[in-house]
Symmetry: C2
Subunit: 595 residues, 2 copies
Amino acid sequence: MSLRTHTCGALRADHVDQTVSLCGWVNSYRDHGGVIFIDLRDREGITQVVFHPENADAHATGDRLRNEDVVRITGTCLRREEGMANPKLVTGEIEVDARQVEILNKADTPPFTPDDAARTGEETRLRYRFIDMRRPAMQNILRTRHRVAKLMRDYFDENGFYEVETPFLCRSTPEGARDFLVPSRLQPGEFYALPQSPQLFKQILMSGGIDKYFQIVRCFRDEDPRADRQAEFTQLDVEMSFIDQEDVMNTHEGLMRRIWKEVLDVDVPEIRRMTYAEAMNRYGSDRPDLRFDLELIDVTDIAKGTDFKVFTASIEAGGIVKAIRVPGGAKLSRKETDTLAEWVKQFGAGGLPVSKRENGAWSTGIAKFIEPVGDALAERLGAQDGDLVCFGVSNKPAVVHRVLGELRIRLAHDLGMIRDDQWEWLWVIDFPLVEWDDDRKRWHSLHHPFTSPNPEDMDKLESDTANVRSWAYDLVLNGSELGGGSVRIHDTETQKRVFKVLGIDEEEARAKFGFLLDALRFGAPPHGGIAFGLDRIVMHLCGTTNIRDVIAFPKTQNGADLLTEAPSEVDLEQLKELHLRVNLPQPAATPTPTA
Amino acid sequence: MSLRTHTCGALRADHVDQTVSLCGWVNSYRDHGGVIFIDLRDREGITQVVFHPENADAHATGDRLRNEDVVRITGTCLRREEGMANPKLVTGEIEVDARQVEILNKADTPPFTPDDAARTGEETRLRYRFIDMRRPAMQNILRTRHRVAKLMRDYFDENGFYEVETPFLCRSTPEGARDFLVPSRLQPGEFYALPQSPQLFKQILMSGGIDKYFQIVRCFRDEDPRADRQAEFTQLDVEMSFIDQEDVMNTHEGLMRRIWKEVLDVDVPEIRRMTYAEAMNRYGSDRPDLRFDLELIDVTDIAKGTDFKVFTASIEAGGIVKAIRVPGGAKLSRKETDTLAEWVKQFGAGGLPVSKRENGAWSTGIAKFIEPVGDALAERLGAQDGDLVCFGVSNKPAVVHRVLGELRIRLAHDLGMIRDDQWEWLWVIDFPLVEWDDDRKRWHSLHHPFTSPNPEDMDKLESDTANVRSWAYDLVLNGSELGGGSVRIHDTETQKRVFKVLGIDEEEARAKFGFLLDALRFGAPPHGGIAFGLDRIVMHLCGTTNIRDVIAFPKTQNGADLLTEAPSEVDLEQLKELHLRVNLPQPAATPTPTA
């Protein structure tokens, strides 16, 4: 603004001979025979500034400049000499001949420079996030994140949605993940919880006649450390009234189409749909990565005809055998397939039977066992010379799906089957309403307890619970879940029936969700919605797999902010006001030396 | 969407003869000789639906409808009969002749209806907020709030600002108001704090080269109950680099101009500026309400010439006497001025000397005491017949300002001097950097410790601290502070000097604000910003003085959410995982009966 006439990304040949003022950081410094060159950097780019000895004052100051000093430069925009233009910079045709220099803030030698960041450990970068953030890559991410949020808000505004703010100091509901608690000082002994999502509030808004709601909102889950998780994360949260499942999916397909077009100039086609059952059967996952084939093919009936005990015993115990044909996989060595066999054990597999197709016959691995059914198998799989075939087998079909589902992803990565510019979108629909929780011996909502059963399946809610489909849907991109949602239950009777199936009795339902039941019985419209992970969307758009890259001030896996050193101990006085006492586990007692 | 062809606010004469489907709530029900009329309500308006006995099925269902039932109606849009149009409704020219009715959700008899809300206590309305929210007035507020946030985001986006999200799980800094604490489970015995504002993060963003930042963000203060406060409130938070105070003020003047124009069609003129010193002298407040005059006029020199002990003793003790001339105030009775005299005591006044101007002379009150200087006083004040004059007197000038500052506001309201359509904008500038905290015997930042002193006053930072001006500014509308900000200190040396003046030693500064000092010394640009209360802005735009009206899910003064009944007790297991124990004060012991 008033300190500068242009940013460091603005000057072009058109500006030659103009007097300009730039502000920014010294990105680099060079002395060529007494003529000093600096690259001046700001959010918009880099401009070369030159200090000629003839301008003695400016030159003297220029000579003192070092990396990350903050300066204001006034000078003349000049065309660079013939052959000296830098086509890599948008400002590469010009340079600024400095006449006046003002050091706005002299920097101490920084622990690293933005150019060095790639060679600097993540802990140091997080500790000095303000330097890390000066990197063009990081600036691009934060700009993209801003743009995505803006595109979302524009889109929803155009489509008649209101952004409504919901509370952060909420009631703790011991469903789902662990809550972060906030002690109340005014109501001693009581606690708020930070929201895991505004689920109930958005349903209340629908009962309140808001009709179409969205919010980009922080949510919180106190879960155990995992690399791709943050205790606080940002959600695009949406709810709509008087709609069906198709309305919600179409609305958000349009949103994704707009974002991918505006940010990446990529066209999102009409997004295909697949039922949960099909996704599990063909890809062993409810969020299949469709950038490559490697489908799961059921060969149980064929495997039954072998003498291979691993197959036959599992099948007899009610299990299944499925296979993945890996084109070109025959090049994998015995050692490599053994490594895979070891790796799949974490998903419950006993091992990984494989065989290869060479010269029109099975060879290596379990070739001799499958010999009797070799042709039928080859035909079913469409096996060709050079293929590897991997078998998943277990007396639990879910284990076969999990093992082969994970395996196909690993194989696709290992064998370079994925191109960078592939975008494979998918709606997964017809999720089961519930799944059996074997630990707690009860049905558990696959989505959440407010999800509407598919009305076609209502008659078997109690009698054939496992096969009741819900009106839930997930949007999957390249095998990663971008978001998911459901049409909700909008009448009290259905909600009570579902609570009952879930083993939540009336008293418990009233205590935990009484206000929701009230909102339903006093006139809730049919409604449904969806939520997307904003962090995840920005990761896709920016091509990073590190969630901390897309968050300005991320926390480590342990929930620590290395910049501000949060969390921290607090004054005893603060705890006293909250009527709280910290009660740390005692360290193991030192054995008392015997006298 | 698919359930309806139009909203309840959409149909006009143009739609006559079309078949339409509407969804909404039954707002009222009338039976006129067997023909049933209902008003169907949704977010967009009300449409009259008529059920003729000829359409037997629809009529039978229509006959069962009651208030707040949720229905879907399909029928024909008809022009109302001659003379039956309702000019109060935008849909008043038409009605829908119902052919099919679907009861989407039959409502239980609600505790109150949206039309009744005005006659329903606030507690009941908050308990059933989903009904309260169906009121057109409440819907209008939430729509306005959405629009204001959207206008802000559009404006900042157009002006090159990025919206960047800052953390909610922060470090506790025992400065300012009380923090809400969040126990960390992964770091037992340690706590996060919810942010009182993203102040330090936005300064870090400037050091990180983000250049222009804004965010609409929830902030938290655990303060004691007060009617116009919420523990969580929403702030428009802004920071800019390479700017001066004028840049920040101009940017936000433009923002306010856009919002007031778009929402209310009101033009905001160039906003005048007033120094803090002038505001205190003339209006006794740093956020003067300029919708009326009632200026404070210094009459100390004249009062010195009276024999009125109250005046002379205070003046001798270093105090001052100021007066407010109240045009037409002579009509106030003795009882009324006595009430005022009692009322001002809460602001530190000993009483409220008054006199009236009648027939060119002073009468009543302290008339006889001011007689000797009567003409000089009348001339100074420009007193005219019918005026009341109120005197503020104290040996502490600050008390005089406070008393008369509050009094002028009350008088303006009592005497009806304020029109509804008045918008008086003001920038207050040149705030003192610090004020003396007599309790803690140290200087205290008027804005916050990161506010830049005015460089012109840097040489007296240590020697004449009380008179150092800062680069801080507040935007005031109709006597209410909409927002405030400052240019920040951007170099380590100045920041250290200011910390020292505030009695924060190097060790403490390092412990509390080490990361900020690092951000400054490794290259922070000159920067400054501002923050506005979004709740307050929406209150002004919607003409309400109740902060709970502009928040979808507000809390009561005690921090309770009556809808969800937060806060609440939590499971012992949850506390155990956090290594916390609740330690409530013991109730007084019941005396043990002696045996």
